[in-house]
Symmetry: C2
Subunit: 762 residues, 2 copies
């Protein structure tokens, strides 16, 4: 099965799309797949390089600003552009720029090497004057040296003695991409970077910038070396960029090694010194050595994470592609997370949403718990902001996580589909619990998780109230953004219940296992004993709306009383609805942008009997538009859960190749990270039916008839498992570790290295 | 009883307040009560002159703009400032400016003459050099010549031979007032006027301006004449203003007559010519003749409108003050209406809200139906915009009136307390019906009202739906802005029912009385016969939420399930709540900004039995903050209705002097027009209990024990009635016209000129 994603496209539209698809990243740095040589002047492109979390602070404008509306937001900035390497062919006065859009492209292939962590472009080109050459561009953003963006070019002459000039640049004059016509893309392209230093020394080309409002600093140090002896180097600088100009005659194969080291002031105090030292350390390694280190990293990753599908190469390509980009986007420093578009683009301003916890963390939690822990630490790092926000929102205590943020403060300006989504606090709590169930990592729980669980539990006591003996939560918005500001959203209530219940459970655990720590924590939080009791009674009394006639959980208290959206009267071009109808219009009808109650049934399945989950699935399926990329994967998983394997497969198809096939038409703005995580879940939690519960792992394995089988890995409490499902049976093999409790179709098994599980498929 | 409102204040804060209280207007022009001579440089002032409806178009900014959010809004502009008349005292090099804040103020009184339609300032002043004089400033904005702002100054020397220089100016460099700290005041003070002409000719000083975006034009022509023979005139111009400089020796009383004529391009094509001709026509009249014309107009007005209160001079002052300012602010050209602040200030950007129909029209409808008709015509003039907005908001037909507007397009950027207040369309329909009931003016109904009623009725069919045999309206906001986006707001539903019912009734009436007209109208509206039946069935099946346990109408479907706001835990300085809590927090609780269900019970009282109205009143009273100035008057009226006369009186006190005593602290931004209308209603519909129904007038007269009595006038179907209630009895006297059907405490009476009604009070 292939480890390559390939393309031969040279048309502008596809190249724009491929800027996202072929991006290189390592969780710290992301470089879009722009072309070294650039594009024709009028071509639409989003030329971008990003540092995870590197942002400016931007005022949020309001026509009518009300109390506690956020005054400003963070915005991920496009930083210095070091991608540029122009290759000019021909005599001095007649030079032509090597380009996909001039001269003659004799052959062109672009490859993403999923196993090597590298991208490649292979070009055979002939100038209008007849000079012919082959050029190979390789790129990686190193997992070994997080600051390194590495470009390596091989030039091979086909015609003889080609006069050639290469211009390598680092450009400090960059802006973010703006599109006034699309509400999902920023409309602001103001220049927010000030160039504070631009120089060339023997250490390389250096560009330093500072953001206008947040005063963050970033620096890029770039070196370039050509393997030819006869090359002459020249340096040019203007106010905005530094260029290295190299002249030579190309008469044999030569290589060009460009290394750009990028760092920012949230990680390093003295940027120049740090970059010089990193550069010198890395200088000990050749490109191929660095590529080997990169490959080693990927080999380890795939060893724990690979998923194989037998019998469908397109899906196989997609699933690996998705897992790879998730890795490339995940912040690994405990201070950053995974933005909605990862590090592949600027869509949603580089903000972190609930997506990380609900759609992305499961994969990391179950395959790379060390990385998952870093993502969870990020949420702990912004707990103080969440506490402050709770106070600002009128609560006496607790933590209200922001709907979208980088540094922890709320960045959402449209609160009905933003701040009102209180469920994000429960989602974060949920992800801590899931991590604990997957790892049994009590020390992490003690150090970080307990506090998060207790503070979020407090929020629910603040926001909810008892009414007729039931605990109710009014005036919130659930995950489905086509309904807003409702009472008793099923999803919110059931997740709050989980939050409250586990806050108690974990508190008691810590209390028993480490009374000293518990005492200190109680004192830090000014937590009273009665609060835990309050948590438990609220959890026990949590009101979960149920409609006996339809035998479903209504999305909220009045959802079912509304009219059903006129789907027949809605032309296809009116989707997504949010771009064609006022929110009030949409809110007035039974219509869902995405899974809401169905997602709740996935996350907390033990709250409802099978028939209610199934009838709910049937009901919501007819009124869900899947206008959000977070939807199809949930309908796939829950389709499998309630017995609709064919349906699950159909939804899976929509989710698996969403970016590769640009199904939503906006992949150019960045990859849909949550959907990528959803693909993994659709296989592992969907077709294999995996659930994490206190008494072990639960599977309900099924196999779509279109496939011969699938195999994946999971890490469970120090055990590495290989799970596969083929026509001959469902197998779980312990690759390392002791023994594991399993429940297959609710029947209990214990496996060990010597005794793998094999169950003949039904 | 006095016709004067007086003040001796010279402190800056009170002067700022008096800019609103002493403003002069005539429905077309409004001039704030700024001082001719100005204030010290650092003094806070809102120096303003306005033309009703004269606006620029301003972009509305959004952090996240969604479909059909208005892109821009109209904004009432502050126009050329012609108030300036500086008086400089003393020799050339030692001149001192006459001012309330320098020299010595020996005596100062300011008077608003409610009977004369004029304001006056009487100043006795001594300069630091010892020159002593008396100055009398008179001002009127003419009801006779709508374009005229007239200033008339009398200077009387006390010391001998005072060297004096008077500078009269017209200033084109004006901006709107901005306050970034108050969401109720604009934060935008960008200059939106371009001066297109600035000149002095024998016709006078002329300043012409054009707005930047809307391209409206306005012009001011100003003449100034001094009665002294020895005066020397000089003219100075710069790019921004024209000044007339007059030097003289003051040795006897002289007068200065300054006339500024103001016109705009929505009324006149050629502004200069029009102003010259109006000026020359008016030149035939002296100031005292023009003042007499003004007084005649006011005499007629008071003859139909005056309300007297025996036994409370402060209330008497307030009620006349309020009625006077309502007159000054009411557009009388059929193209304009009454802004939230009238023509007294810039608060709420000069927009027209539902206030006009529900709080202001009743007074005009019942006393000045000709003027009421003009206000109703304004709504007809923007019916096309309302139709377009309905389409934009996803409806197939009907008319959705904008929540706030000048020209007819929606200007509200925060839709949960804006566009979502669909009830405004029913409110407008209601005001047409009330006008019809008061006047029996079928021709107006035919020409304008029927179309408005039918198009608004269509909206309810579009927005509502049948559910379990009931007609329900989801996802709207009622008048109470502390609850938003709910299902089945009682107010909205009952008003929609009235709208639907009367649309049918009036349609049938027109159909019977003028089949030709009906046919033409049906064709114009593409109205199908079945639609009328649909209106009637929706009205008949309208769902009106009722809670049997509490015996009240819940404000909406889930209102009563929410927790009650923690009033005890809310410090006094946290009111109004909207300035101290996020809307989500407020929406989460049972707490009302203003009367909602209680207002519905006032407007449509026959839908509920007495006990439900009373129990509802009791319930809502405990949870209403009256943070809106639209609230107290309703609680006064309904207090009287359900038998709480003392309570009614207490609420009345809060409403009557709201501006005079600056109770809400923001009268500087303009007068609270709706509250002023509410004062009238609290007497007429409150204490006297007047209701307009199909079979005549209904009274339930009561007398607060604090008063000896009250008297008011109403115009009912060509009859002028004087209604009074004193300890000796309730009297209705027919001042003109034939006979009238009355219901007093539900008992029927017929009165005529010969047979007034006298009922001894219970």
């Amino acid at each position: 099965m292939s480890w390559k994603v390939q393309s031969n496209a040279t048309d502008i539209d596809t190249l724009l799309l491929e800027e996202s698809l072929f991006f290189n990243g390592n969780g710290y740095i992301g470089i879009r797949g722009n072309l070294e040589e650039g594009l024709p002047n009028d071509a639409k492109t989003i030329r971008g390089s990003y540092i995870n979390g590197f942002h400016d602070i931007v005022d949020i404008p309001y026509g009518e600003k009300l109390y506690a509306f956020p005054e400003n937001q963070q915005k991920l900035l496009n930083i210095m552009d070091a991608q540029g390497i122009e290759i000019w062919i021909g005599e001095d006065n007649q030079r032509e720029k090597l380009s996909l859009h001039s001269g003659e492209v004799l052959d062109y292939t672009r490859i993403l090497h999923l196993d090597k962590g590298m991208t490649e472009r292979i070009l055979h080109w002939k100038s209008t004057k007849g000079y012919e050459l082959k050029v190979n561009f390789k790129r990686l953003v190193s997992f070994h040296t997080r600051e390194l963006f590495h470009q390596f070019i091989t030039l091979t002459p086909v015609s003889m003695n080609i006069p050639i000039q290469i211009i390598s640049s680092v450009n400090g004059e960059v802006r973010n991409f703006a599109d006034k016509d699309d509400p999902r893309v920023s409309s602001d392209d103001e220049n927010r970077l000030t160039i504070t230093n631009l120089s060339w020394t023997h250490e390389g080309s250096l560009v330093e910038v500072q953001t206008k409002a947040s005063k963050l600093r970033a620096a890029a140090l770039s070196t370039v070396t050509v393997s030819s002896n006869s090359v002459s180097y020249r340096y040019e600088m203007n106010k905005l960029s530094v260029q290295t100009i190299m002249d030579m005659i190309l008469s044999e194969e030569i290589t060009l090694d460009k290394r750009t080291f990028i760092a920012d002031s949230t990680r390093y105090e003295n940027l120049q010194e740090s970059l010089f030292s990193i550069k010198n350390r890395t200088a000990l390694f050749s490109f191929s050595e660095l590529m080997n280190l990169q490959q080693d990293y990927l080999t380890t990753f795939w060893g724990k994470t690979d998923v194989t599908i037998d019998g469908d190469d397109k899906i196989q390509e997609a699933i690996r592609f998705n897992l790879y980009h998730l890795l490339q986007s995940a912040g690994q420093d405990g201070k950053t997370s995974i933005a909605a578009k990862g590090l592949s683009g600027e869509g949603y301003e580089g903000h972190y949403f609930w997506d990380t916890e609900i759609y992305l963390l499961p994969m990391f939690t179950m395959t790379n718990p060390d990385l998952a822990r870093k993502l969870l630490q990020y949420r702990y790092s912004i707990l103080d902001s969440a506490r402050e926000r709770a106070i600002e929102m009128g609560h006496k205590k607790g933590a209200l996580y922001p709907w979208r943020t980088i540094t922890g403060t709320e960045c959402s300006s449209y609160y009905p589909a933003g701040t009102a989504q209180y469920h994000i606090s429960a989602d974060i709590a949920y992800s801590y619990v899931q991590y604990y169930l997957a790892t049994n990592d009590k020390s992490f729980l003690k150090e970080f998780g307990t506090e998060v669980l207790l503070e979020t539990a407090r929020l629910w006591i603040e926001v909810g109230h008892f009414y007729n003996g039931e605990f109710r939560i009014d005036t919130v918005t659930g995950p489905d953004e086509y309904t807003a500001i409702v009472n008793n959203n099923y999803y919110t209530n059931v997740m709050a219940k989980y939050n409250l219940h586990w806050a108690c459970k974990i508190a008691r655990l810590v209390q028993n296992e480490d009374p000293m720590h518990w005492k200190a924590l109680k004192s830090k939080l000014s937590l009273e004993e009665f609060e835990l009791e309050e948590f438990q009674s609220a959890a026990d009394a949590m009101y979960l709306p149920t409609d006996r006639t339809l035998n479903i959980n209504p999305q909220d208290d009045t959802f079912l009383q509304k009219e059903i959206w006129d789907f027949e009267g809605t032309p296809a071009e009116h989707y997504p609805l949010l771009l064609h109808y006022h929110p009030l219009t949409i809110y007035r009808y039974q219509v869902c942008k995405q899974a809401d109650t169905v997602l709740a049934h996935f996350l907390v399945e033990d709250e409802q009997p099978e028939d209610i989950m199934k009838d709910s699935y049937n009901y919501y399926e007819t009124i869900t538009t899947h206008d959000s990329s977070l939807s199809s994967c949930v309908f796939s998983m829950m389709g499998a859960r309630v017995g609709y394997v064919d349906k699950a497969y159909d939804y899976f198809l929509e989710t698996a190749r969403l970016d590769l096939d640009n199904i939503q038409g906006n992949t150019k703005d960045g990859l849909h990270m949550a959907n990528m995580g959803g693909t993994w879940m659709a296989i592992v939690a969907g077709f294999a039916g995996l659930r994490l519960k206190e008494d072990g792992l639960y599977f309900r394995p099924q196999l779509p008839k279109q496939w011969k089988g699938y195999t994946f890995h999971i890490q469970y409490q120090d055990q590495l498992l290989q799970v596969s499902n083929h026509s001959d049976g469902f197998k779980v093999k312990l690759l390392s570790g002791g023994q594991v409790n399993l429940h297959i179709w609710d029947k209990r098994y214990i496996i060990s290295a010597e005794n793998p599980l094999v169950i003949t498929n039904r």
